[in-house]
């Protein structure tokens, strides 16, 4: 699963912090392509698979506060 975070909205600092906080629940890789930070998520805990992407995005957004 890959999430595209727009660079003009999401900061790399908050993405990294979110990855650090969620690191126990899945494996992450960060990349970038033009205006986006790409976060590749693998080995998600099976019980969280359905909500993981949305919850992670929400958490990244909440770190901007």
């Amino acid at each position: 699963m890959i999430i595209n975070f727009n660079k003009k909205i999401y900061s790399l600092k908050s993405i990294k912090k979110a990855i650090k906080d969620y690191s126990q629940l899945a494996n992450f890789k960060i990349g970038q392509k033009k205006n986006y930070f790409l976060v590749k998520i693998t080995k998600i805990k099976p019980e969280l698979k359905d909500i993981f992407q949305d919850e992670f995005s929400n958490y990244v957004l909440s770190l901007h506060q």
Binding site: N4, N6, I9, D54, N58, L61
Partner: protein
Amino acid sequence: MRKNKIVFSLDVTTYSLQAIYATAYSFVDRVYVFLDRKGKKIKVVLESKGNLKKKGLEDLKKEFHNELLNYLLRVEIAKRNQKIRDFIVGTALVSALPTELLTQSSKPEISGTADWQKDPLGIAIPWEEKYGKKKRKTKKKSK
């Protein structure tokens, strides 16, 4: 509008990013919020955590817009009152300091004046008093 999801866009020139962040934050307990940007438009995706019908999603969008206006005003007022707020907080912090700390900071000045009055280096003595007599002696010698 897809199942449980509503998508709309906001103009960055009308709504500040700070206000959008704050509004999104107030919604994260009820919906999944995802933002994207294309030019001057910010695409907002709200996906409900529970099951919502079309009407419910429309209401959510309206509520988001209302909250956005609320935060826009808050941000604007915060900007306008920043100086006075900083001043009030600064004054409150200083007045909350223990009186001992405040008096300690003024002690060196008092001791400084005391040292000056004592004049341990003898620099407060006028030139005439210090060297005036010597000159007279040299005059006598020359005669």
